[in-house]
Amino acid sequence: MLPVASLLILVPLIFAAATFLTKTKNQAETLAFAGSLATLGLTLYAYLNFDSGSAAMQFFESISWTPSLGIKYSVGIDGISLPLILLNAIVTPLLILYSRSEEREASNRFYALILVMQAAVIGVFVSLDFFMFYIFWELTLIPLFFMVNLWGGEKRKHASYKFFIYTHVASLVMLLGIFGLFYASWQQTGIPSFDIRELITQFQFIESGGLKDAIFLAILFGFLAKIPSFPFHSWLPDAYSEAPTAGSVLFVLLKIGGYGLFRISLPMLPNTGKPELAITVMGLLGGVSVLYGALLALRQRDLKRMIAYSSVSHMGYVTLGAAGLVTMSVSGAMFQQFSHGLIMSILFMSAGVIHKNAGTRIINELGGLASKMPKLAVLMMLGFMASLGLPGLTGFIAEFLVLTFTFGKLPFFVIIALLAIVITAGYHLWAMQRAMFGVYNEKLGPVADLDFSQTFAMAIIALLVLYFGLNPSPVLDMMITNSEAIAGFAAAAGV
């Protein structure tokens, strides 16, 4: 058995270093592509050897690192992390392929950053020790910051600093929560440990209810700001829309906030001082995110900003489903993370092509692009349909599961989210109609369609959206297995 979890971090890092040393754009692309394919191969190996009927940690490795502080090098993969690793491993090579046709300076750094990002995100998913988890969590900031700061749009400086400071401060609050958990557990057991699962187990034995709530809220805040959930979302529209296309897609693949909810917050939640209140708050934030994100998306003039706000709206389902805390709602929320990653990748790639080929992203300045860009029109249409929740595509399954199974516990917030469905359909169709259909806007001049590598990258993702929309079980089964464990734990605690 290969030590897959470690290799999944190491391989992209090694290829990132090699890519950084290349001299030409072509070399950098080839090497980065090879690296991402190697990661994809490892991920498929993990997937094929994975037992989706077991909620236990698989491919587990653990080595003592700093015994006097209880820090271990400890990694593993389970049904919560594998679908997200799969998402990342599938989209990254396609993203590199897609980025080929864009002109830019310093390609070697650009592709190296994409691979560092991949290593960091996968690192968060496989880490089972809070020390490593936090290191990888913070490492994700660096590639994203430089992506936006160096290759972003006009307001890239502002957007990159805002994103960095906002989410960095939120992570630091999370770190304080982790420290609190570490010392509280140390006092109980007499043995220092940063092991995530050990600390979650010890959490229930903390005597002081106030301390429990403080720890839980500090960690939850870090996750909610990263998802991002209303009202901590204000960094997102700037960062997503100012980033280059590849940067936006990397943001979309940054599913670590939602992952943290499932891995850490939900197992802790039943043991907090007031679990009902925590659930209500999470439900409220999730429901409001869905509606508020949709309302803001409706009034955007810039196509990419509209997509960015729709992302806030869709990520609301993750928080909402997590708050539902029954097997199927949590599975739906997990599936929404997977589905959202695929769908948003298509949308941002479409917006990137339109911006590059037509010269503008302002919706009203476009018009009738479908006649000049038929390939784009088909793929983008599919992305938009998936995003608005058309049955048969992945978005529908995720949102259906979340709404149906959360209703029993939080009917009011589900109704808020339901209101948004109409608006969501509205802004998607309206934007599509104005930008793609109707009479061609002659002011745009001649506009080229997708080239081969762009078509290939987007078509593969589109096919996956369709495939998992019709047959979600290859990833949904393992999510359900792990959600059962989470929900069972909550039920046993009487929540």
Binding site: P67, S68, L69, I71, E138, H168, F179, F182
Partner: protein, 479 residues
């Protein structure tokens, strides 16, 4: 032979001083290698004496985990300085003075680390200080260097007087200068207002060396004006002497007055780190920026006095070691850049600020090794994993949570987030902005010193266990 490392250092210094009398400037280049060898021997002897716990000379010197740990810090710093000094003193006629002064300063610092008696502590403190005053003014033709030495000397002398004054109060109230006996009699101090006066005077005296705000006025000017490698010795070595002396005097001797000085250090820590970071943001001179960042780092270390748990002290002690590597390394890298800029402009009028940020433009291309090392050092100073600075902050900041001071952790953490701004700006100058000149061959001594410092920073960051263990052992001496 428990004092073997100190004796080695002192004897090496004397030999160099004597040998220098009979050598030509060219052959004096040998002296740097000799000094390096002496320091290496002392380093090995110190490492060998870990685990010994005893006192010497009627209890005036104590050999324990704390003293040996700090000796290690001082020797590491002076080793880096000595190696880089081989290039700095190339073909100079004052080589032997440079090395002898550095070694005498180190000798003083090492005795301070062991001092278990106020008189011994003060004498050693002064030995180290006098040597560093002269070193700060080492470039006799450079007005900035003279200003640096002068400021350092005047303020240093006043602080030494204050410190001595504080010590006389302690002696007056307890009737002894031995630290363990003061600790035994410290109830006498706590009972009278003299105790408070002594605490205030001692904080002012040590605060000067530790460069805590508001006793920091000399630090930016001195660190900026002094030769870069001397700044390395001051910021990374001599500052730590202030900390180890304060650890022993306050935590061990004045334990009965803990509520008073703990409050004072809490305030000083918060003010120092915030002031240092905020002011560093607007600096254009890299050495001055490093000086303010050094203030901020002293503020973090001073948190150990505020929290006072074994974990916090271990964190503070670990921080001094990490800081020794990263700050000495950063100043040496700045020294390499100053060397590059001045050697390029031979014959032209001298630059006012050779260490201006603009000199660092495109350094990643011009001096790849220096730029890469400097990047590692500033990332470590900012507390980014996987560096020693991150690990030290991790231990130190986490300890505040244990002690129930989340607000202090929050201030410290926000401060280190703020510091990232000016550190990242330096990295941007080095790697993003285009170079203003061709590639430069990096002098070998600088390169070796930088590689050693990088190795130290990464070793603490990746292989924490032995360092954390040492720091915990050293902290046990205090509580």
């Amino acid at each position: 032979m428990l004092l073997a490392p100190e004796i080695t250092i002192a004897v090496t210094g004397l030999i160099l001083l004597l040998a220098g009398l009979f050598m030509s400037p060219r052959s004096k280049n040998l002296l740097g290698y000799l000094a390096t060898c002496g320091i290496l021997i002392a380093l090995i002897l110190t490492l060998d004496s870990f685990g010994i716990n005893t006192t010497m000379f009627s209890g005036t010197l104590s050999i324990d985990a704390l003293s040996q740990f700090f000796k290690l810090v001082f020797l590491v710093v002076v080793l880096l300085v000595a190696i880089a000094g081989i290039k700095y003193n190339e073909n100079s006629s004052h080589t032997e003075e440079f090395y002898a002064l550095s070694l005498f300063a180190t000798f003083g610092m090492m005795i301070v680390a062991s001092a278990n008696d106020l008189i011994v502590l003060f004498c050693a403190f002064e030995l180290a200080s006098l040597a560093t005053y002269a070193l700060a003014a080492f470039e006799k033709q450079n007005p900035r260097s003279l200003e640096a030495g002068m400021k350092y000397f005047v303020i240093g002398s006043v602080s030494a007087a204050l410190m001595l004054f504080g010590m006389t109060f302690v002696y007056g109230a307890t009737g002894t200068t031995s630290i363990p006996q003061i600790a035994a009699n410290s109830a006498l101090l706590a009972a009278s207002p003299i105790g408070l006066v002594a605490v205030v005077l001692l904080i002012a005296g040590f605060g000067f060396k530790m460069a805590l705000v508001p006793f920091h006025m000399w630090a930016p000017d001195t660190y900026q004006g002094a030769p870069s490698i001397v700044s390395a010795l001051l910021a990374a070595g001599s500052k730590k002497m202030g900390f180890v002396a304060a650890f022993r005097v306050f935590i061990v001797a004045l334990a009965a007055l803990q509520p008073d000085w703990q409050l004072a250090f809490t305030l000083l820590a918060v003010v120092t780190m915030t002031f240092g970071n905020v002011v560093a943001v607007s600096q254009k001179s890299v050495k001055r920026m490093l000086a303010y960042s050094s203030l901020a780092q002293a503020g973090y270390i001073a948190m150990a006095f505020a929290v006072l748990s074994p974990m916090a002290l271990a964190g503070g002690i670990l921080y001094t070691l990490a800081h020794a590597f990263m700050k000495a390394g950063a100043f040496i890298a700045a020294g390499a850049v100053v060397w590059m800029v001045t050697s390029e402009r031979k014959g032209q009028p001298k630059l006012k600020l050779p260490d201006h940020l603009d000199s660092f433009k495109g350094l990643g291309y011009r001096m790849p090794l220096t730029a890469f090392s400097l990047m590692i050092f500033v990332f470590s100073l900012a507390g980014i994993p996987p560096t020693g600075g991150f690990m030290a902050k991790f231990v130190l900041f986490s300890s505040t949570i244990e002690a129930g001071l989340p607000w202090l952790a929050l201030i410290a953490i926000l401060n280190s987030a703020l510091s990232l701004y000016y550190y990242a700006r330096l990295v941007k100058y080095m790697y993003v902005l285009p170079p203003e000149g061709g590639k430069v061959r990096e002098p070998l001594p600088y390169a070796i010193a930088l590689v050693l410092a990088v190795a130290g920073v990464l070793a603490i960051g990746l292989w924490h266990e032995p360092f954390v263990q040492w720091a915990l052992e050293a902290a046990k001496v205090l509580v």
